[in-house]
Protein backbone atom coordinates (compact mmCIF):
# COMPACT_ATOMS: atom_id res chain seq x y z
CA UNK A 1 0.00 0.00 0.00
CA UNK A 2 2.91 2.32 0.73
CA UNK A 3 6.40 1.83 -0.66
CA UNK A 4 9.22 4.30 -0.39
CA UNK A 5 12.66 3.96 -1.94
CA UNK A 6 15.47 6.19 -0.72
CA UNK A 7 12.95 8.91 0.06
CA UNK A 8 14.87 12.02 1.04
CA UNK A 9 13.97 15.57 1.93
CA UNK A 10 17.07 17.52 2.88
CA UNK A 11 16.38 20.85 4.61
CA UNK A 12 20.08 21.36 5.32
CA UNK A 13 21.92 21.37 8.68
CA UNK A 14 21.03 17.70 9.13
CA UNK A 15 17.29 18.38 9.22
CA UNK A 16 14.81 16.44 7.11
CA UNK A 17 14.37 12.84 6.05
CA UNK A 18 17.15 10.71 4.63
CA UNK A 19 16.95 7.56 2.48
CA UNK A 20 13.69 6.17 3.83
CA UNK A 21 12.96 2.64 2.60
CA UNK A 22 9.62 1.45 3.87
CA UNK A 23 6.95 -1.04 2.85
CA UNK A 24 3.52 -1.10 4.43
CA UNK A 25 1.17 -3.93 3.54
CA UNK A 26 -2.56 -3.91 2.95
CA UNK A 27 -4.67 -4.22 6.10
CA UNK A 28 -1.80 -3.26 8.38
CA UNK A 29 -2.01 -0.71 11.14
CA UNK A 30 1.52 0.61 10.95
CA UNK A 31 2.96 2.82 13.67
CA UNK A 32 5.50 5.46 12.79
CA UNK A 33 7.32 6.57 15.90
CA UNK A 34 9.94 9.12 16.64
CA UNK A 35 10.65 12.11 18.84
CA UNK A 36 9.52 15.57 17.77
CA UNK A 37 11.53 16.73 14.77
CA UNK A 38 12.52 13.18 13.73
CA UNK A 39 10.98 13.57 10.26
CA UNK A 40 7.59 11.89 10.74
CA UNK A 41 5.44 14.76 9.49
CA UNK A 42 7.91 15.39 6.66
CA UNK A 43 7.38 11.78 5.55
CA UNK A 44 3.60 12.13 5.64
CA UNK A 45 3.71 15.40 3.70
CA UNK A 46 5.95 13.81 1.08
CA UNK A 47 3.51 10.92 0.65
CA UNK A 48 0.68 13.37 -0.02
CA UNK A 49 2.73 15.57 -2.39
CA UNK A 50 2.40 18.57 -0.08
CA UNK A 51 6.19 18.84 -0.29
CA UNK A 52 8.52 17.41 -2.92
CA UNK A 53 11.40 15.02 -2.27
CA UNK A 54 15.04 16.00 -2.75
CA UNK A 55 15.57 12.46 -4.06
CA UNK A 56 13.98 9.03 -3.92
CA UNK A 57 10.40 8.09 -4.61
CA UNK A 58 7.19 6.90 -3.01
CA UNK A 59 4.28 4.84 -4.26
CA UNK A 60 0.88 4.65 -2.58
CA UNK A 61 -1.85 2.25 -3.65
CA UNK A 62 0.40 1.31 -6.57
CA UNK A 63 0.50 4.91 -7.83
CA UNK A 64 3.37 7.38 -8.00
CA UNK A 65 3.10 9.87 -5.13
CA UNK A 66 4.25 12.76 -7.30
CA UNK A 67 2.71 12.22 -10.73
CA UNK A 68 -0.55 10.54 -9.67
CA UNK A 69 -1.12 12.47 -6.48
CA UNK A 70 -4.72 13.50 -7.14
CA UNK A 71 -5.77 9.89 -7.81
CA UNK A 72 -4.01 8.86 -4.59
CA UNK A 73 -5.62 11.60 -2.52
CA UNK A 74 -9.05 10.51 -3.73
CA UNK A 75 -8.46 7.16 -1.99
CA UNK A 76 -6.61 8.38 1.09
CA UNK A 77 -7.86 9.93 4.32
CA UNK A 78 -5.43 12.32 6.02
CA UNK A 79 -5.30 13.89 9.45
CA UNK A 80 -2.51 16.48 9.75
CA UNK A 81 -0.58 16.82 12.98
CA UNK A 82 -1.37 20.49 13.41
CA UNK A 83 -4.98 20.36 12.33
CA UNK A 84 -6.29 23.75 11.19
CA UNK A 85 -9.86 24.38 10.05
CA UNK A 86 -11.73 27.49 8.94
CA UNK A 87 -12.30 29.19 12.35
CA UNK A 88 -15.46 31.08 11.38
CA UNK A 89 -17.26 28.08 9.91
CA UNK A 90 -19.24 25.54 11.86
CA UNK A 91 -18.09 21.92 11.96
CA UNK A 92 -20.99 21.06 9.72
CA UNK A 93 -19.96 23.63 7.07
CA UNK A 94 -16.33 22.46 7.15
CA UNK A 95 -17.30 18.81 6.70
CA UNK A 96 -19.72 19.76 3.90
CA UNK A 97 -16.97 21.60 2.04
CA UNK A 98 -14.42 18.81 2.46
CA UNK A 99 -17.03 16.25 1.37
CA UNK A 100 -17.75 18.35 -1.74
CA UNK A 101 -14.03 18.27 -2.61
CA UNK A 102 -14.38 14.49 -2.69
CA UNK A 103 -17.48 14.63 -4.85
CA UNK A 104 -19.71 13.74 -1.90
CA UNK A 105 -19.65 11.09 0.83
CA UNK A 106 -22.10 8.49 2.07
CA UNK A 107 -24.33 10.40 4.56
CA UNK A 108 -24.86 7.28 6.67
CA UNK A 109 -21.11 6.83 7.15
CA UNK A 110 -20.80 10.50 8.09
CA UNK A 111 -23.69 10.27 10.57
CA UNK A 112 -22.28 7.16 12.20
CA UNK A 113 -18.87 8.83 12.64
CA UNK A 114 -20.46 11.95 14.12
CA UNK A 115 -22.41 9.74 16.52
CA UNK A 116 -19.41 7.56 17.38
CA UNK A 117 -17.25 10.57 18.28
CA UNK A 118 -20.15 12.60 19.69
CA UNK A 119 -18.94 15.54 17.59
CA UNK A 120 -20.36 19.04 17.90
CA UNK A 121 -21.12 20.22 14.36
CA UNK A 122 -23.22 23.25 15.20
CA UNK A 123 -20.66 25.62 16.69
CA UNK A 124 -18.00 27.66 14.89
CA UNK A 125 -14.59 26.02 14.92
CA UNK A 126 -13.01 28.82 16.96
CA UNK A 127 -15.39 28.04 19.82
CA UNK A 128 -14.44 24.36 19.95
CA UNK A 129 -11.89 22.80 22.30
CA UNK A 130 -8.78 21.10 20.87
CA UNK A 131 -10.35 17.69 21.42
CA UNK A 132 -13.59 18.63 19.65
CA UNK A 133 -11.64 20.02 16.69
CA UNK A 134 -9.62 16.79 16.58
CA UNK A 135 -12.87 14.83 16.39
CA UNK A 136 -13.77 16.78 13.24
CA UNK A 137 -10.32 16.00 11.87
CA UNK A 138 -10.88 12.29 12.44
CA UNK A 139 -14.36 12.39 10.91
CA UNK A 140 -13.14 14.08 7.73
CA UNK A 141 -10.33 11.53 7.44
CA UNK A 142 -12.67 8.54 7.70
CA UNK A 143 -15.91 9.86 6.13
CA UNK A 144 -15.22 8.74 2.56
CA UNK A 145 -14.19 5.23 3.66
CA UNK A 146 -10.64 5.52 2.29
CA UNK A 147 -8.51 2.50 1.45
CA UNK A 148 -5.55 4.09 3.17
CA UNK A 149 -5.51 6.34 6.22
CA UNK A 150 -2.55 8.55 7.03
CA UNK A 151 -2.93 9.93 10.53
CA UNK A 152 -0.46 12.27 12.24
CA UNK A 153 -0.77 12.22 16.04
CA UNK A 154 -4.45 11.20 15.85
CA UNK A 155 -5.34 11.02 19.55
CA UNK A 156 -3.79 14.35 20.40
CA UNK A 157 -6.23 16.19 22.67
CA UNK A 158 -8.81 13.39 22.80
CA UNK A 159 -10.21 12.24 26.14
CA UNK A 160 -9.79 8.53 27.08
CA UNK A 161 -13.33 7.58 26.05
CA UNK A 162 -12.92 9.04 22.58
CA UNK A 163 -9.48 7.43 22.33
CA UNK A 164 -11.19 4.12 22.99
CA UNK A 165 -13.73 4.80 20.22
CA UNK A 166 -10.90 5.71 17.89
CA UNK A 167 -8.96 2.53 18.65
CA UNK A 168 -12.11 0.47 18.06
CA UNK A 169 -12.58 2.21 14.74
CA UNK A 170 -8.99 1.43 13.75
CA UNK A 171 -9.56 -2.24 14.53
CA UNK A 172 -12.72 -2.25 12.37
CA UNK A 173 -10.95 -0.49 9.52
CA UNK A 174 -8.08 -2.96 9.66
CA UNK A 175 -10.48 -5.92 9.75
CA UNK A 176 -12.03 -4.57 6.53
CA UNK A 177 -8.62 -4.84 4.86
CA UNK A 178 -7.96 -1.11 4.89
CA UNK A 179 -4.53 0.19 5.81
CA UNK A 180 -3.56 2.71 8.48
CA UNK A 181 -0.28 4.61 8.66
CA UNK A 182 -0.21 6.20 12.05
CA UNK A 183 2.43 8.62 13.24
CA UNK A 184 3.11 9.40 16.88
CA UNK A 185 5.84 10.50 19.23
CA UNK A 186 4.62 8.31 22.08
CA UNK A 187 4.60 4.54 22.22
CA UNK A 188 1.43 4.36 24.30
CA UNK A 189 -0.51 5.93 21.40
CA UNK A 190 0.32 3.10 19.02
CA UNK A 191 1.11 0.16 21.30
CA UNK A 192 -2.46 -1.15 21.48
CA UNK A 193 -3.34 -0.90 17.83
CA UNK A 194 -0.33 -1.39 15.57
CA UNK A 195 0.79 -4.60 13.91
CA UNK A 196 4.24 -3.31 13.03
CA UNK A 197 6.05 -0.13 13.70
CA UNK A 198 9.01 1.88 12.57
CA UNK A 199 11.16 4.19 14.63
CA UNK A 200 12.65 7.27 13.09
CA UNK A 201 15.44 9.31 14.61
CA UNK A 202 17.02 12.44 13.16
CA UNK A 203 15.46 11.73 9.79
CA UNK A 204 16.72 8.16 9.52
CA UNK A 205 14.92 4.87 9.98
CA UNK A 206 16.29 3.06 13.03
CA UNK A 207 14.16 -0.07 13.15
CA UNK A 208 11.07 -1.64 11.54
CA UNK A 209 9.55 -4.62 13.31
CA UNK A 210 6.51 -6.02 15.07
CA UNK A 211 5.92 -5.23 18.72
CA UNK A 212 6.28 -8.96 19.50
CA UNK A 213 9.76 -9.09 18.00
CA UNK A 214 10.76 -5.91 19.75
CA UNK A 215 9.64 -7.44 23.01
CA UNK A 216 11.71 -10.58 22.30
CA UNK A 217 14.89 -8.58 21.97
CA UNK A 218 14.08 -6.55 25.04
CA UNK A 219 16.31 -6.99 28.05
CA UNK A 220 14.96 -9.16 30.84
CA UNK A 221 15.15 -7.85 34.35
CA UNK A 222 15.20 -9.61 37.70
CA UNK A 223 14.82 -7.86 41.00
CA UNK A 224 16.58 -9.95 43.71
CA UNK A 225 16.10 -9.18 47.38
CA UNK A 226 18.88 -10.53 49.66
CA UNK A 227 19.05 -10.90 53.45
CA UNK A 228 22.00 -8.49 53.53
CA UNK A 229 23.45 -5.98 51.04
CA UNK A 230 25.37 -7.69 48.22
CA UNK A 231 28.08 -6.12 46.03
CA UNK A 232 26.78 -5.35 42.52
CA UNK A 233 30.18 -6.35 41.05
CA UNK A 234 29.32 -10.00 41.68
CA UNK A 235 26.78 -9.74 38.82
CA UNK A 236 28.36 -7.26 36.43
CA UNK A 237 30.81 -9.72 34.91
CA UNK A 238 28.23 -12.44 34.27
CA UNK A 239 27.61 -13.33 30.60
CA UNK A 240 24.73 -11.34 29.01
CA UNK A 241 24.40 -8.85 31.87
CA UNK A 242 23.88 -5.31 30.60
CA UNK A 243 23.19 -3.41 33.77
CA UNK A 244 23.15 -3.90 37.55
CA UNK A 245 21.56 -1.53 40.04
CA UNK A 246 21.90 -1.90 43.80
CA UNK A 247 19.47 -0.36 46.27
CA UNK A 248 19.95 -1.50 49.89
CA UNK A 249 19.40 -5.25 50.05
CA UNK A 250 17.94 -5.32 46.53
CA UNK A 251 19.77 -5.74 43.26
CA UNK A 252 18.14 -5.33 39.84
CA UNK A 253 19.93 -7.14 37.03
CA UNK A 254 19.17 -6.47 33.33
CA UNK A 255 20.40 -9.21 31.01
CA UNK A 256 19.98 -10.80 27.60
CA UNK A 257 19.28 -14.48 27.03
CA UNK A 258 18.82 -17.12 29.77
CA UNK A 259 18.54 -16.28 33.47
CA UNK A 260 20.64 -19.28 34.50
CA UNK A 261 23.90 -17.45 35.28
CA UNK A 262 22.14 -14.72 37.23
CA UNK A 263 20.11 -17.15 39.35
CA UNK A 264 23.14 -19.31 40.09
CA UNK A 265 25.18 -16.25 41.10
CA UNK A 266 22.35 -15.11 43.40
CA UNK A 267 22.20 -18.58 45.02
CA UNK A 268 25.61 -17.93 46.58
CA UNK A 269 23.83 -15.54 48.99
CA UNK A 270 20.72 -15.76 51.14
CA UNK A 271 17.88 -14.82 48.80
CA UNK A 272 14.58 -13.58 50.23
CA UNK A 273 12.73 -12.99 46.96
CA UNK A 274 13.20 -12.98 43.20
CA UNK A 275 10.79 -10.82 41.24
CA UNK A 276 10.80 -10.72 37.42
CA UNK A 277 10.25 -7.20 36.12
CA UNK A 278 8.18 -6.76 32.97
CA UNK A 279 9.97 -5.94 29.77
CA UNK A 280 9.90 -2.21 29.54
CA UNK A 281 9.17 -1.25 25.96
CA UNK A 282 9.40 2.42 26.75
CA UNK A 283 13.03 1.88 27.64
CA UNK A 284 13.70 0.25 24.29
CA UNK A 285 12.11 3.18 22.52
CA UNK A 286 13.98 5.67 24.57
CA UNK A 287 17.21 3.91 23.66
CA UNK A 288 16.32 4.14 19.97
CA UNK A 289 15.21 7.74 20.35
CA UNK A 290 18.36 8.73 22.14
CA UNK A 291 20.60 6.81 19.78
CA UNK A 292 22.17 4.68 22.48
CA UNK A 293 21.11 1.45 20.84
CA UNK A 294 23.87 -0.35 19.01
CA UNK A 295 21.62 -2.73 17.06
Amino acid sequence: MIETAGLTKDYGSGRGLFGLDLEIRQGEVFGFLGPNGAGKSTTLRLLLDLIRPTSGSARLLGLDARRESVAIRRRVGFLPGDLALYPKLTGSAVLRYLAQLRGGVNPRVLESLVERFDADLGRPIHQLSTGNRQKLGLIQAFMHEPELLILDEPISGLDPLVQQSFHALLAEVSAQGRTVFLSSHTLSEVERVTHRLAILRRGRLVVVDSLENLRKVALQRLEIEFAVPVAAEAFRTLPGVANVQADGNTITVSFEGAADAVVKAAAAYEVRAIRPREDNLEEIFLRYYQGTDTA
Partner: protein, 260 residues
Amino acid sequence: MSWSTLTLAYRLRFVSTASAAAGLIAVMVAVGALFPAVGHTIGQLNLPKGVSELLGGADYGTITGWFGSEIGSVYGPLVIAGIAVAAASAATAGEEENGILALVLAHPIRRQQLVAAKGAAVAGVVLTIAFATWIGMILGVAAGGGGISLGHISAFTVQLASFGLASGALALALGAGTGRHALTVGASAAFLIAGWLINGFAPLTGATDWLKYLSLFYYYNGHDPLSNGLDLGGIVVLGAVTILLAAVAVTGMDRRDLHG
Protein backbone atom coordinates in the same frame (compact mmCIF):
# COMPACT_ATOMS: atom_id res chain seq x y z
CA MET B 1 -11.89 25.08 -11.17
CA SER B 2 -13.43 23.95 -7.90
CA TRP B 3 -16.89 25.51 -7.53
CA SER B 4 -17.13 24.60 -3.84
CA THR B 5 -13.76 26.29 -3.17
CA LEU B 6 -14.86 29.38 -5.08
CA THR B 7 -18.14 29.73 -3.20
CA LEU B 8 -16.48 29.10 0.16
CA ALA B 9 -13.72 31.64 -0.53
CA TYR B 10 -16.33 34.25 -1.52
CA ARG B 11 -18.47 33.41 1.51
CA LEU B 12 -15.50 33.88 3.85
CA ARG B 13 -15.02 37.43 2.48
CA PHE B 14 -18.71 38.28 2.23
CA VAL B 15 -19.13 40.23 5.48
CA SER B 16 -16.08 42.47 4.90
CA THR B 17 -17.01 42.92 1.24
CA ALA B 18 -20.63 43.81 2.00
CA SER B 19 -19.51 46.23 4.74
CA ALA B 20 -17.05 47.92 2.40
CA ALA B 21 -19.68 48.10 -0.35
CA ALA B 22 -22.24 49.68 1.97
CA GLY B 23 -19.65 52.13 3.30
CA LEU B 24 -18.60 53.04 -0.22
CA ILE B 25 -22.16 53.80 -1.25
CA ALA B 26 -22.75 55.89 1.87
CA VAL B 27 -19.54 57.88 1.35
CA MET B 28 -20.34 58.59 -2.31
CA VAL B 29 -23.84 59.77 -1.46
CA ALA B 30 -22.34 62.04 1.21
CA VAL B 31 -19.66 63.32 -1.20
CA GLY B 32 -22.33 64.10 -3.79
CA ALA B 33 -24.58 65.79 -1.25
CA LEU B 34 -21.71 68.02 -0.13
CA PHE B 35 -20.95 69.32 -3.61
CA PRO B 36 -23.72 71.95 -3.91
CA ALA B 37 -22.63 73.41 -0.57
CA VAL B 38 -18.84 73.46 -0.97
CA GLY B 39 -18.17 73.03 -4.68
CA HIS B 40 -18.04 76.71 -5.58
CA THR B 41 -15.89 77.66 -2.58
CA ILE B 42 -13.45 74.77 -2.77
CA GLY B 43 -13.21 75.26 -6.52
CA GLN B 44 -11.28 78.45 -5.84
CA LEU B 45 -8.47 76.53 -4.10
CA ASN B 46 -5.10 76.85 -5.76
CA LEU B 47 -3.31 73.62 -4.85
CA PRO B 48 0.36 72.91 -5.63
CA LYS B 49 0.66 71.03 -8.92
CA GLY B 50 2.05 67.85 -7.30
CA VAL B 51 -0.88 67.60 -4.90
CA SER B 52 -3.28 68.45 -7.67
CA GLU B 53 -1.88 65.64 -9.86
CA LEU B 54 -2.17 63.12 -7.01
CA LEU B 55 -5.83 64.12 -6.66
CA GLY B 56 -6.58 63.61 -10.33
CA GLY B 57 -6.35 67.26 -11.32
CA ALA B 58 -8.34 68.47 -8.30
CA ASP B 59 -10.86 70.40 -10.35
CA TYR B 60 -13.23 70.81 -7.43
CA GLY B 61 -15.31 73.40 -9.20
CA THR B 62 -17.20 70.82 -11.29
CA ILE B 63 -19.00 67.72 -10.08
CA THR B 64 -16.89 65.60 -12.44
CA GLY B 65 -13.68 66.97 -10.92
CA TRP B 66 -15.15 66.70 -7.43
CA PHE B 67 -15.93 62.99 -7.82
CA GLY B 68 -12.76 62.40 -9.81
CA SER B 69 -10.64 63.79 -6.96
CA GLU B 70 -12.52 62.42 -3.98
CA ILE B 71 -13.55 59.02 -5.30
CA GLY B 72 -11.63 58.39 -8.51
CA SER B 73 -8.17 59.31 -7.25
CA VAL B 74 -8.20 58.23 -3.62
CA TYR B 75 -11.18 56.53 -2.04
CA GLY B 76 -12.28 54.26 -4.90
CA PRO B 77 -8.90 52.70 -5.74
CA LEU B 78 -7.90 52.56 -2.06
CA VAL B 79 -10.98 50.54 -1.14
CA ILE B 80 -11.04 48.25 -4.16
CA ALA B 81 -7.29 47.51 -4.07
CA GLY B 82 -7.31 47.09 -0.28
CA ILE B 83 -10.21 44.64 -0.40
CA ALA B 84 -8.69 42.75 -3.36
CA VAL B 85 -5.24 42.43 -1.74
CA ALA B 86 -6.74 41.37 1.60
CA ALA B 87 -8.97 38.75 -0.05
CA ALA B 88 -6.25 37.32 -2.31
CA SER B 89 -3.56 37.16 0.37
CA ALA B 90 -5.86 35.61 2.98
CA ALA B 91 -7.18 33.00 0.54
CA THR B 92 -3.71 31.86 -0.50
CA ALA B 93 -0.78 32.67 1.80
CA GLY B 94 -3.02 33.22 4.84
CA GLU B 95 -4.63 29.79 4.60
CA GLU B 96 -1.28 28.23 3.83
CA GLU B 97 0.48 29.74 6.84
CA ASN B 98 -2.23 28.74 9.29
CA GLY B 99 -2.20 25.17 7.98
CA ILE B 100 -5.64 24.97 6.36
CA LEU B 101 -4.26 24.36 2.87
CA ALA B 102 -2.31 21.32 4.11
CA LEU B 103 -5.66 19.70 4.85
CA VAL B 104 -7.49 21.00 1.77
CA LEU B 105 -4.71 19.91 -0.59
CA ALA B 106 -4.76 16.41 0.92
CA HIS B 107 -8.10 16.15 -0.90
CA PRO B 108 -8.41 15.34 -4.61
CA ILE B 109 -7.96 18.87 -5.92
CA ARG B 110 -5.05 20.14 -8.01
CA ARG B 111 -3.19 23.17 -6.76
CA GLN B 112 -3.96 24.92 -10.05
CA GLN B 113 -7.69 24.29 -9.54
CA LEU B 114 -7.47 25.62 -6.01
CA VAL B 115 -5.67 28.83 -6.98
CA ALA B 116 -8.00 29.36 -9.95
CA ALA B 117 -11.02 29.04 -7.66
CA LYS B 118 -9.51 31.44 -5.12
CA GLY B 119 -8.75 33.88 -7.95
CA ALA B 120 -12.33 33.67 -9.20
CA ALA B 121 -13.57 34.40 -5.67
CA VAL B 122 -11.30 37.46 -5.47
CA ALA B 123 -12.69 38.58 -8.84
CA GLY B 124 -16.19 38.19 -7.38
CA VAL B 125 -15.23 40.38 -4.43
CA VAL B 126 -13.76 43.05 -6.74
CA LEU B 127 -16.83 43.03 -8.98
CA THR B 128 -19.10 43.38 -5.93
CA ILE B 129 -17.17 46.47 -4.84
CA ALA B 130 -17.21 47.83 -8.40
CA PHE B 131 -20.97 47.35 -8.59
CA ALA B 132 -21.38 49.16 -5.27
CA THR B 133 -19.22 51.97 -6.65
CA TRP B 134 -21.46 52.23 -9.71
CA ILE B 135 -24.61 52.37 -7.56
CA GLY B 136 -23.01 54.77 -5.10
CA MET B 137 -21.81 57.14 -7.82
CA ILE B 138 -25.20 57.22 -9.53
CA LEU B 139 -26.82 58.10 -6.20
CA GLY B 140 -24.02 60.52 -5.26
CA VAL B 141 -24.13 62.39 -8.56
CA ALA B 142 -27.92 62.61 -8.27
CA ALA B 143 -27.53 63.98 -4.72
CA GLY B 144 -25.05 66.54 -6.07
CA GLY B 145 -27.49 67.82 -8.67
CA GLY B 146 -26.37 65.65 -11.62
CA GLY B 147 -23.78 66.43 -14.26
CA ILE B 148 -22.04 63.13 -15.05
CA SER B 149 -23.60 60.87 -17.65
CA LEU B 150 -24.49 57.27 -16.85
CA GLY B 151 -22.10 56.21 -19.64
CA HIS B 152 -19.15 57.98 -18.01
CA ILE B 153 -20.03 56.61 -14.58
CA SER B 154 -20.15 53.12 -16.10
CA ALA B 155 -16.84 53.73 -17.90
CA PHE B 156 -15.24 54.81 -14.63
CA THR B 157 -16.60 51.71 -12.90
CA VAL B 158 -15.18 49.42 -15.59
CA GLN B 159 -11.76 51.11 -15.29
CA LEU B 160 -11.91 50.79 -11.50
CA ALA B 161 -12.94 47.12 -11.69
CA SER B 162 -10.05 46.42 -14.07
CA PHE B 163 -7.66 48.12 -11.65
CA GLY B 164 -9.09 46.09 -8.74
CA LEU B 165 -8.72 42.84 -10.68
CA ALA B 166 -5.08 43.61 -11.48
CA SER B 167 -4.39 44.50 -7.82
CA GLY B 168 -6.01 41.25 -6.68
CA ALA B 169 -4.07 39.25 -9.27
CA LEU B 170 -0.84 40.81 -8.00
CA ALA B 171 -1.56 39.67 -4.43
CA LEU B 172 -2.76 36.29 -5.70
CA ALA B 173 0.52 35.74 -7.57
CA LEU B 174 2.59 36.78 -4.56
CA GLY B 175 0.47 34.75 -2.13
CA ALA B 176 0.39 31.61 -4.23
CA GLY B 177 4.01 31.96 -5.26
CA THR B 178 5.52 32.60 -1.83
CA GLY B 179 3.00 31.34 0.74
CA ARG B 180 4.01 34.25 2.97
CA HIS B 181 1.09 36.39 4.13
CA ALA B 182 2.92 39.44 5.51
CA LEU B 183 5.23 39.53 2.48
CA THR B 184 2.24 39.34 0.12
CA VAL B 185 0.33 42.16 1.78
CA GLY B 186 3.43 44.33 2.25
CA ALA B 187 4.81 43.92 -1.27
CA SER B 188 1.40 44.42 -2.90
CA ALA B 189 0.72 47.56 -0.86
CA ALA B 190 4.20 48.93 -1.56
CA PHE B 191 3.80 48.36 -5.31
CA LEU B 192 0.38 50.01 -5.40
CA ILE B 193 1.36 53.01 -3.28
CA ALA B 194 4.51 53.50 -5.35
CA GLY B 195 2.34 53.35 -8.46
CA TRP B 196 -0.01 56.00 -7.07
CA LEU B 197 2.89 58.33 -6.25
CA ILE B 198 4.64 57.71 -9.56
CA ASN B 199 1.47 58.39 -11.51
CA GLY B 200 1.05 61.66 -9.62
CA PHE B 201 4.62 62.95 -9.58
CA ALA B 202 6.38 61.44 -12.61
CA PRO B 203 4.57 63.64 -15.18
CA LEU B 204 5.74 66.81 -13.38
CA THR B 205 9.05 66.70 -15.24
CA GLY B 206 9.68 65.57 -18.80
CA ALA B 207 12.58 63.34 -17.75
CA THR B 208 10.44 61.17 -15.49
CA ASP B 209 7.17 61.34 -17.39
CA TRP B 210 7.69 57.84 -18.88
CA LEU B 211 7.61 56.28 -15.39
CA LYS B 212 3.84 56.72 -15.31
CA TYR B 213 3.57 53.80 -17.74
CA LEU B 214 4.85 51.51 -14.97
CA SER B 215 1.94 52.40 -12.73
CA LEU B 216 -1.37 50.54 -12.76
CA PHE B 217 -3.01 53.87 -11.78
CA TYR B 218 -2.13 55.38 -15.13
CA TYR B 219 -4.07 52.69 -17.01
CA TYR B 220 -6.98 53.05 -14.60
CA ASN B 221 -7.34 56.80 -14.28
CA GLY B 222 -4.79 58.44 -16.56
CA HIS B 223 -7.44 58.96 -19.24
CA ASP B 224 -9.93 60.46 -16.71
CA PRO B 225 -12.87 58.15 -17.51
CA LEU B 226 -15.38 60.31 -15.61
CA SER B 227 -14.70 63.10 -18.11
CA ASN B 228 -13.73 61.17 -21.24
CA GLY B 229 -15.40 57.77 -20.98
CA LEU B 230 -13.89 54.35 -21.49
CA ASP B 231 -10.13 53.99 -22.08
CA LEU B 232 -9.93 50.75 -24.05
CA GLY B 233 -6.14 50.84 -24.15
CA GLY B 234 -5.98 51.07 -20.36
CA ILE B 235 -8.46 48.22 -19.96
CA VAL B 236 -6.47 46.03 -22.35
CA VAL B 237 -3.24 46.67 -20.39
CA LEU B 238 -4.90 46.05 -17.01
CA GLY B 239 -6.59 42.92 -18.42
CA ALA B 240 -3.28 41.62 -19.77
CA VAL B 241 -1.55 42.28 -16.43
CA THR B 242 -4.37 40.45 -14.63
CA ILE B 243 -4.19 37.43 -16.92
CA LEU B 244 -0.40 37.29 -16.70
CA LEU B 245 -0.36 37.53 -12.89
CA ALA B 246 -3.18 34.98 -12.60
CA ALA B 247 -1.13 32.58 -14.72
CA VAL B 248 1.88 33.19 -12.47
CA ALA B 249 -0.32 32.47 -9.44
CA VAL B 250 -1.74 29.25 -10.84
CA THR B 251 1.68 27.86 -11.79
CA GLY B 252 3.57 29.41 -8.85
CA MET B 253 2.08 27.31 -6.10
CA ASP B 254 2.44 24.10 -8.08
CA ARG B 255 6.21 24.37 -8.24
CA ARG B 256 7.08 24.57 -4.60
CA ASP B 257 6.70 22.95 -1.19
CA LEU B 258 3.67 23.90 0.83
CA HIS B 259 4.36 25.75 4.10
CA GLY B 260 2.46 25.34 7.34
